[in-house]
Symmetry: C2
Subunit: 561 residues, 2 copies
């Protein structure tokens, strides 16, 4: 049996380690700037691929994947990574909810796909060469593909944005999610039909491929869904836990991927539909979904997205005119389509435009579609680069624009406002008075206010009602004018300070919280998060025995021990 040599195995381990590490670091940086991780992961690919490293250090690249064997391996590995990513994306689709949503969602989703589709199709039909048409395929197919590419949405990015804005479980949030799901499904089915019409595989005639695709999707979402809902409880009852379900889900998704690849459309469509059918079952345990989702999102997905940048030189193939046109058509089509659809369904203008911009983000789905289209020769490298940039720009824009239109703020988190300079360990004060003064002195230097003002505000608040929560936790706090953002300090004391807790126990863990006077909700959000922490006795004990500020920050952020 042919095998990779020991040297090639070494290279594969090393390449995967480097690609994963760099992708994750850039993913984290992207999130630091409130951007989706996929942004950073693709950037990492540009850095390691021909765009940057290839231009400046041609040898660095050949260090990563120098032999045909390692390159063959990577092409297989990224195919699996993409299929598993789409499995997880599919599992997030809540079909039952889609079916429950009424007229509004269907109006928005139909307008949200028909309008941009029409705009896209007509532009590409009348101005093919302006829009990157390079021959090779029939012009109708090219126009159809371009129309599809600007019509799909990106469920994961949209869901993440809505959750960040605390808008996920509102009516508008649900309309956006439902419409995005419908548009995604429609988009992928149209794309499959295009691939089928091209007859790429040759194993089947185009019409057979289309027929099989529709049969597969319809079958999986009806009979398949019904069957899975019965098989899952059986597996959990009779096989080991959670191994039975995990193995079943992954092998089923791989089989679905093999089937769709075999009938001549892409593997990712099979695993996506399998994911939709599985995710819908009430018998999929939350824990199993989480395990799959975490491993796939943080190991497979970064490796897949970083590999995109390895394939194309983004600088050489960047065409500013084409990119600008694609971006404009995509944004106008989607925002106008969804916005007008929502207004037609009776929603007020502000919400309607928010829906338009929400649906406008393309994210990872668009990039996968573009990559496949390039691999099948449907589009050239210039169009690929333009579509990737369009996907990134629309995703970046959607969060801030929605925030602006809806005047929403992100939910505030304790860990965002903690300051390493205010970690008093140990806190020296023995009485309430001494403890508050000690905090006020340190805080005063940081927010540039007199310690007396701070101490007075906190003491006044303490007089209204004591802030000892019980369980050894106290949260002296006050709203202060003259600061623009909350500041949170932490104090640990072995001896304990009495804060008149309901259980009469002294406080060993103190959160000292100052929030801006004009921002009432900041205080509410922060205090409710801290009271959740206080109720978790094990977590509090770990915080109390932590050795460094970093360790405390990690415990508060993850809330796990």
């Amino acid at each position: 049996m042919p095998k990779l040599s020991m040297h090639e195995i070494t290279l594969i381990f090393l390449s995967l380690a480097v690609l994963l590490a760099v992708a994750r670091v850039f993913g984290e940086l992207a999130r630091r700037f409130n951007q989706p991780a996929v942004m950073g992961e693709i950037m990492a690919g540009l850095l390691l691929g021909p765009t940057m490293a290839g231009t400046f250090f041609p040898h660095a690249l050949s260090f990563l994947l120098p032999t045909p064997g390692t390159q063959l391996f990577m092409s297989g590995f990224t195919a699996i990574a993409a299929a598993l990513f789409l499995l997880v994306a599919g599992m997030e689709v809540d079909l039952a909810r889609v079916l429950r949503q009424g007229r509004t969602a269907s109006t928005v989703s139909i307008a949200g796909i028909v309008f941009p589709f029409a705009v896209g199709y007509l532009s590409a039909w009348y101005f093919p060469h302006l829009l990157g048409y390079e021959g090779g395929v029939h012009q109708t197919l090219y126009a159809l593909f371009f129309a599809t590419a600007i019509s799909i949405s990106a469920l994961p990015v949209i869901a993440k944005t809505l959750m960040d804005l605390d808008y996920y479980h509102t009516d508008i949030g649900m309309i956006i999610i439902t419409s995005a799901i419908l548009d995604d499904l429609a988009g992928w089915i149209i794309f499959s039909v295009i691939l089928g019409t091209m007859g790429i595989n040759g194993e089947f005639s185009p019409s057979t491929t289309i027929l099989l695709t529709i049969l597969f999707a319809a079958g999986m979402l009806t009979v398949g869904r019904w069957g899975l809902n019965r098989i899952l409880p059986w597996i959990m009852a009779h096989a080991s836990w959670p191994g039975g379900v995990l193995g079943f889900v992954v092998s089923l998704a791989l089989a679905g991927a093999a089937f769709t690849e075999w009938i001549g459309i892409h593997a990712v469509f099979g695993s996506f539909i399998t994911g939709v059918a599985l995710g819908d079952s009430a018998h999929m345990r939350k824990r199993t979904k989480e395990t799959l989702e975490q491993f796939v999102s943080f190991i497979f997905a970064p490796l897949f997205f970083v590999s995109i940048g390895l394939q194309v030189d983004f600088v050489k193939n960047f065409d500013p005119v084409l990119t600008f046109l694609v971006l404009t058509i995509a944004m106008v089509g989607k925002v106008a389509g969804c916005g007008l659809g929502a207004m037609a369904a009776g929603l007020p203008p502000r919400e309607s435009w928010a829906i338009g911009f929400g649906m406008n983000s393309r994210g990872a789905m668009e990039i996968i579609l573009a990559l496949l289209a390039m691999q099948y020769g449907l589009i050239g490298e210039r169009m690929f680069v333009a579509l990737v940039i369009m996907a990134l720009v629309t995703s970046i824009a959607s969060g801030p624009v929605m925030q602006l239109i809806l005047r929403r703020k992100k939910n505030r988190q304790v860990s965002d406002y903690m300051d390493s300079r205010v970690c008093l360990n140990p806190l020296k004060g023995k009485t309430q008075r001494e403890a508050i003064d000690e905090f006020a002195r340190v805080m005063g230097g940081i927010i540039r206010q007199s310690p007396e003002t701070i101490a007075r505000a906190v003491t006044d608040r303490e007089r209204i009602a004591p802030t000892g929560l019980g369980f050894g936790v106290a949260i002296p706090h006050a709203r202060l004018s003259g600061i623009s953002a909350p500041v949170i300090g932490i104090g640990l004391t072995k001896e304990g300070v009495d804060f008149n807790a309901p259980d009469d126990k002294p406080a060993h863990l103190l959160f000292f919280i100052l929030t801006p006077k004009q921002d009432a909700s900041a205080q509410v959000e922060i205090l409710s998060e801290i009271s959740r922490i206080a109720k978790n006795a094990e977590l509090c004990n770990r915080i109390k025995s932590a050795e460094s500020y970093t360790e405390i920050l990690g415990l508060i952020k993850t809330k796990e021990i």
Copy 2:
């Protein structure tokens, strides 16, 4: 860039789906017979590989991995799977506990490696050809390898056996685990030295390889461990959760694997040592470990073990004399070494022999070692088959023999004794009397006792103290002579039956439990598990609204919703 063709990608998806599904099914079957899952996974490989399918259906095999490209891919994929499996195995090692354990553990582990090593070395040195020596390498190296192969243990199998017997947290359990860890570490280091001496890689001289190996292991377990313990909290404090840690751990393990492969020993050693250094940190969250462990144990590990069977024809290469000799030398060396070591450390004979048989199981580690040795040309296919069989037989034997020596029984689980025929949904009885009679009628037919006897025993018990637990759950039960195993029935009723619960609420979920008269602990174990279920209100609600017996069984087994 060379790529796998669309046809090859289809084949890879299909092969992985088939291999994973068959491996998991056989893994589950093995567990059904109280055997480690790896047993079944290897069997699945024999079935799909040249041993069975290859002999009877030569075309079936070429269906799985027919092209050089797919075979190249699989060799890379299984290398990664093995490295990740060893990462997880390494993370289970609790170094701190190893260092805490005193004289006994070190005596057992030293005797447990020196004695079998000496027996193995001398046998292979004096009777090389009887023990499968086929030339190619120096006889000393061969004897060293054989000695190592029969000296190592299998931590995961041993830990699983001890947990099954509820013996994990006892002194004996800890001695066994600690000794197994030390023997494993020693075994892998010796094996690395052998590979280094062979100078397989050629990049370094043998002595440099050995030096680098020792430096790597010692460095990772001291400075590396110290550094990781500081880096992990920083990642959790500053990166996204749990993606930051997951990505870091996997890329570090891959880098460690690349390093050890580069210096001329195998990749698995690098990821194993990385795992040991990581697993030891108090900052590795339980949830992160679980996610890694579940995905690797149930997706990567089955794919790796099933692929072992694809490589060799086990029937053609089965040498009964060699297998018998290997098995005898391995068992005598390990059982006698550990048993005598334990007695020398002052333990009573019965416990000492239990330790001997506990340490005797070789499991997956032995198989990985044998596979590597075969790939490096250290051993032939006959010896490989003999070592795999030895690993399987010693693992299978260890549980039952320990159980016999220590007269321990496996902890009983509710799901093992539930009977689908006694799932009364809905239960018709409205009063306690009627409900008990209804259960007794159905149960009587199954255990062949008169319903009156059963009802009387349960009613008598009910009179001593009511069995309503509150939260809508009741557990009418009795100990009965004439049955050999517990039987558990389930009843659901919308109307509720009064069982005098402390909260005065009627029971909607009834467990009807009969246990053998002579077996007091069976009742205790079953009742304590049910009271844990009763306290989980969400779980009980899901059970009450379950639609089938299978669903109820799944909920009780997984205890998750």
